[in-house]
């Protein structure tokens, strides 16, 4: 079964990316985690994302495009990346979620992926 693990990080945690004193540990943790996931063969796809400051949000209201600088919503936890994994069940997905560095500095949302609609 495919699950998306959505990695949500606190601002403090994400701030480590740009801090020379902490970036090594930060990326070391993520690289080890992603590496272990790839090595075990559960990873289907996935990406890390740049910080929300470089996000752009668009919505169309009454036919008019509204574009604004920044993420969709200001939240305590920010989307830092995601992977799609192929595992037997939710408990296996939770096990991988718990190993994410942001599990203890943010949270991980685990969602089943909708199966593709049958071709008619």
């Amino acid at each position: 079964m495919h699950y998306m693990l959505i990695y949500l990080e606190t601002a403090e945690e994400m701030g480590k990316r740009g801090n020379p004193a902490e970036a090594g540990t930060y990326w070391g943790g993520w690289n080890a985690y992603m590496g272990a996931m790839a090595q075990s063969g559960v990873m289907v796809s996935g990406n890390g994302l740049k910080t929300p400051e470089v996000a752009t949000t668009l919505r169309v209201v009454d036919g008019k495009r509204h574009i604004h600088d920044g993420p969709f919503a200001d939240t305590k936890e920010m989307l830092g990346g995601y992977v799609i994994i192929d595992v037997a069940n939710l408990d296996d997905a939770l096990e991988w979620a718990a190993r994410a560095p942001c599990a203890s500095a943010g949270s991980v949302e685990v969602r089943p992926v909708l199966p593709a609609p049958a071709e008619g």
Binding site: G29, A32, G35, A36, G41, L90, R99, S104
Partner: protein, 411 residues
């Protein structure tokens, strides 16, 4: 009035909390329907909170809860069965009620534990079932520490309870000849409960912190109920040895501290002394088993630190013995490291390579890092350490591994 109410609520809660397992065991003895008895006990507690503030706390709060819970089971039975049968049930319950009021009731918690750890019950459900029935912990709290969704945990528990109710598992102590085989299930379930708490060393979730104490409490209870079972003593000794080191396992900044770097002044001496006494008493019973061996291993580790001497050879012998008694993956991985620390890295690597289904087993990768390092293959060591770091859910262990902590000379 508010203060009085609070006091009453406290008395009710205390009566329920301290005697939950006792009460449930007594209720279940008769009906074998754990779920129904839990409901009845909850209803009794609710009734207490309503009635006690009005009429005062009864002289024997625990007996009161038992009687009311039994009545509530009787009512449920009356609804469920024909009039005839329910009348029988009610008569029976009435008799039991009188018995409970006239005599100090017995303790059937040991039977309850044996039922929870019956070989017919899903082993994955056993530790949780025991924590829930004997200690009254709720499913959500238990689920967190076993890292499964609360839905899975509830399902597991419901299925296990249904099995107990419907499959005719006897609510009785096993025959004396079967005790050694059956007791291992009980002990393993308690140890799994302890292990679940041990994983959560960060104490990130305050609700989980108490779980280790609860498991140790079960261990104490079992030594009271079966004082002459060597393995019962062995398990408690093992848990106390581990628990004694808890305050030293993390630096003030939260960093992971390996055993050989721990500040032994932070270890609980009373706990270690008690663990050693238990292990000696177990040895006198001349009935060895894997929990005693594991306790002896922890005892040696402690003595290494106290004396500054290294006991690599005796440790290898104990791990080899453990592999004969209980060849479980955790023990086998530790055994490989013990051989490597004792100088035989070739044998250690062969042991690790010979194991199956270890691709995502974190301790195997951590062990491999250490063994490769001792074998002089630094590159392989770092690669294994990175995988081990990626597989841990403990941030401080991750940092320890990525920071090269596994390469410490003193091992």
């Amino acid at each position: 009035m508010d203060q009085a109410r609070r006091n009453v609520a406290l008395t009710a809660e205390l009566a329920a909390r301290t005697s939950y397992g006792k009460l449930l065991a007594l209720l279940v003895t008769r009906t074998r329907d754990i779920a129904a008895c839990e409901d009845a006990l909850a209803a009794a507690l609710e009734a207490a909170l309503l009635q006690w503030p009005r009429e005062g706390v009864p002289a024997n709060p625990v007996g009161w809860l038992l009687t009311v819970a039994r009545r509530s089971i009787g009512r449920a039975a009356a609804r469920a069965h024909t009039a005839d049968r329910s009348a029988d049930t009610l008569r029976l319950l009435d008799k039991e009620r009188l018995a409970a009021e006239t005599s100090p009731f017995g303790d059937r918690r040991l039977e309850l534990m044996f039922v929870c750890a019956h070989p017919a019950i899903d082993p994955d459900a056993q530790p949780a079932l025991m924590l829930q029935t004997v200690l009254g912990l709720d499913a959500a709290r238990i689920a967190g520490s076993f890292l499964v969704s609360s839905a899975t945990m509830s399902q597991r528990l419901v299925r296990a309870k249904r099995k107990i109710r419907d499959s005719g598992i006897g609510f009785a102590l096993p025959d004396i000849d079967d005790v050694p085989a059956r007791i291992d299930g009980v002990l393993s379930a308690i140890y799994a409960a302890y292990g679940a708490a041990w994983e959560d060393v960060t104490g990130a979730d305050a609700k989980l912190v108490g779980l280790a104490e609860e498991a140790i409490w079960l261990g104490h209870l079992l030594t009271e109920l079966m004082p002459d079972e060597a393995e019962v003593l062995g398990l408690l000794s093992l848990m106390l040895h581990c628990e004694a080191r808890r305050p030293a396992r993390r630096a003030p900044d939260g960093a992971f501290v390996p055993l050989h770097r721990q500040n032994i002044d932070l270890w609980s001496r009373p706990m270690i002394a008690q663990a050693e006494r238990l292990l000696r008493r177990a040895a006198q019973l001349k009935s060895p088993g894997h929990f005693q061996i594991e306790a002896a291993i922890q005892s040696l580790h402690a003595h290494q630190r106290f004396t500054g001497e290294r006991f690599s050879q005796p440790l290898v012998e104990l791990y080899d013995a453990l592999a004969r008694y209980a060849p479980n993956i955790g023990g086998l991985v530790a055994r490989a490291v013990a051989h490597a620390e004792n100088g035989d890295t070739e044998a250690a690597l062969a042991m690790l390579d010979g194991m199956h289904e270890v691709a995502t087993y974190q301790p195997w990768w951590a062990a491999r890092a250490r063994v490769c390092l001792l074998a002089g293959d630094e590159k392989a060591a770092w690669s294994a350490a990175r995988t081990a770091a990626g597989l841990t859910s403990d941030a401080s262990v991750r940092q320890f591994l990525l920071g090269g902590g596994f390469a410490d000379r003193t091992g």
